[in-house]
């Protein structure tokens, strides 16, 4: 969610129950501007809040030239002092899904999780113990990256890809129409596309390469992992049931949209049981 329109956007997202207090909003407005100048970001987005047992983490994204690549993630406890999060490796991303405890609120806390897996090697069943050791800071970075990769949402047409491959904001985006906003296929994931390359040429004939360079939400499995509602009649709100706490809003016929994550940072692995 753009730092410029934070006050107004928070009101639209607050249907999920969590908002920021007035003091936090005021602090964010000042500190994000300073952050923008210090790191020379072109845009700063307030990503959301991850609740921890002792204290909560406030996360922000900084964007330089390309909207999708080279995003920097920063965290803070009091919305004033920001710290940079380290980039994550693929192995860490996989390990983080094994941790099922709450975030503690202390970035130097070390998680140790042992999982026993049975491997069949011929006739013997060998039990292998895998120990995962991770600091909370790494877990935070990995969680933010996972959430972005799996459930970040933008409306179709809000971002365009230039022929050079750069992704940028579409200044001619006027918003989805009322009927388009009711369809899940008008929303796209804002991350590297997984399904797009597997599409047949027939399917890609309908797509516009400058707008449709991202995966569609309607291709998510399991179906029903998104809750699309029209709150207060006209605001389209998408909530993810896979990562409980991610809320996306869009006001049809206007270019306003944004998403925010406010929750405990744990994936809902048991979604199929709950649908």
């Amino acid at each position: 969610m753009d730092s410029d329109s934070l006050r107004y956007s928070l009101d639209l997202v607050s249907g999920c129950g969590l908002t920021l207090s007035c003091e936090q909003r005021a602090a964010l407005q000042t500190s994000l501007l300073i952050l923008k100048r210090n790191y020379k970001f072109s845009r700063v987005l307030f990503w959301g809040k991850i609740l921890g047992l002792r204290s909560d983490y406030f996360i922000a994204h900084g964007i330089t030239e390309d909207e999708m690549r080279n995003r920097k993630t920063l965290y803070s406890f009091n919305c004033v002092d920001w710290h940079l999060l380290p980039p994550v490796t693929e192995a860490q991303l996989a390990e983080v899904s094994l941790l099922k405890e709450h975030f503690k609120g202390d970035p130097s806390y070390e998680y140790e999780h042992t999982e026993t897996r049975g491997l069949d090697e011929g006739d013997e069943a060998v039990v292998e113990e895998i120990t995962v050791k991770m600091t909370e800071e790494t877990r935070l970075a990995a969680t933010v990256f996972n959430i972005d990769r799996e459930v970040s949402v933008v409306p179709r047409g809000a971002f365009i890809k230039t022929p050079s491959g750069r992704v940028q904001v579409n200044r001619c985006f006027e918003g989805l129409s009322e009927s388009e906003a009711r369809k899940l296929s008008s929303y796209l994931h804002f991350s590297e596309p997984q399904h797009l390359k597997k599409k047949t040429i027939l399917e890609t004939a309908d797509l516009n390469p400058s707008i449709d360079f991202l995966d569609n939400l309607s291709e998510d499995t399991p179906k029903g992992s998104w809750s699309l509602q029209f709150e207060r009649g006209s605001i389209s709100v998408l909530r993810s049931l896979l990562w409980l706490g991610l809320t996306f809003f869009h006001v049809p016929m206007t270019p306003q949209h944004g998403y925010i994550y406010m929750g405990d940072g744990m994936k809902n692995h048991y979604l199929p049981f709950m649908l």
């Binding site: 009101d11 639209l12 607050s14 249907g15 999920c16 129950g17 969590l18 908002t19 920021l20 207090s21 007035c22 003091e23 936090q24 809040k49 609740l51 047992l53 002792r54 204290s55 009091n78 099922k100 405890e101 709450h102 009322e178 309908d206 029903g224 809750s227 509602q229 029209f230 207060r232 009649g233 006209s234 909530r239 049931l241 409980l244 929750g263 405990d264 692995h269 048991y270 049981f273 709950m274 649908l275």
Partner: protein
Amino acid sequence: MDTSEEVHYNERDLAAKSFKAFLLKSSSKTNLNLYDHLAQLLTKVMDESPEDVVETFEDMSQEVKRAGLQNTQSTLRDTTPISTATVLAEQQRALFSRKAGEDPAHEEYLVKTPLPNVPELAFYLEQAGVGLGEEEMHRVFLALKELVDTQPLQRCRFWGKILGSESNYFVAEGEFQEGGGEEDETAEEEARKSEHRVDDLEAVAEHTVNLLQKSADKSMPVVPMEDKGTGANKYTYFVCREPGMPWVRLPSVTPAQIIAARQICKFFTGRLDAPIASSPPFPGNEANYLRAQIARISASTQVSPLGFYQFAEEEGEEDEETPRYSLEENPDFEGIPVSEMAESLSTWVHHVPHILEQGRCVWVDLAEKPEELVEEEEGDEDREDEPDKPEAEVGPPLLTPVSEDAEINKTPSWTAKMSSTLVSQFAIAVLRSNLWPGAYSFAFKKKFENIYVGWGLKFTGEGYNPPAPPPTQQAYPSGPEIMEDLEVGLKEKQGVKSTLEERRAVEEEESEEAEGEEEEEEED
């Protein structure tokens, strides 16, 4: 050679140019030419990208032609389609109108109304980082006012919001005045009657089955529902989809529903009549599941500062074993400093009774059989097989501090903190539940409040494992007492056959004799 290619090129070029000139020739009837028309038509196809273009090509061509001739003054006016937003706005407009007969200067407003002060609640909750947005809370406030005006409620509270996959529920908690709340009694009486009916049917069935064989499977007696106004059914809950839409009353909760709700984990859809397809099967639809979850959340997460409530003094002897349930506000409550409330969890206490394993707040002994069924008891053998009288289930008594709650994965199930560290004089203490994500409480001097905004699901720690289906029922074991012994049967049959034959032979002889006598008589 170049020249011949050039000549070819020139010829082709010339042919193309002349064809283009041909296309550009205006028609004699209208002022159109084919070149422009084709250009417009192909531009239209590019812009719109319709399906099956080749089929509709001719129609599109006609449309393009017609578009050029359209008369801008149309006698028909477009009706603006009514969007859902305007429909909702119409309904919510009723919230803002003052009803006839209400006079702002009327003295009624000086009397204590059951309506809660929602804007104040919204202000404190916003400091805690919880909230639904200013305008939304105000709409909730007006909707609660409407509820209080239509129902005879003694107390009313905004309980919270439960999110669903298709739409959400705004929940209000109400306590009826004495004698009020008669509407749903018929439904409750029916529920109770159906329980009794089941018992009667059981009695009849047992009577008939008694003749055949002993039933080894005793059906579980149904745990009776708690009365309205006590225990888990102390408060009545109303839900609506959006503030402004009519409030729907939720039915009372039965212990069977609570027990089933503990075993399943399902999202709400937003429709009260949606069926719950789960394993084990849930007795009821979404309205019952919602009510059961609300009961569980209230029992686990409604807290108040220590000392706000005290046990009401009752006259007469009190048995030490029976837990006390009546609370009243403590008039001498001074308020606990916010820093203390934010640091220690023992300053917060539960003020809603805990729901036992049985699904009720007050334990009921099912081993005592009512008199009707005693007659159907099958012999003394069964009585010996009965287990010892089950021990009464005891839960933590009312007003236990929150610090005594069970931990999940070695983390406390509550987190307390102050809302602001910069200005601590005016900060409030906030308590957040880790067991039911979305349950928040705040306290500031003498004020406190609880609210729940979430999906209505408990945090399961390691994860949700659906319970295994029950084992298949055993067929009656086959043993010698029920199997037909073929040898014995054969002998018996042969024995019967021989006696029958003897009897028949005797009868024939007698009839022959009788006939013989008659013949003799006739001869005489």
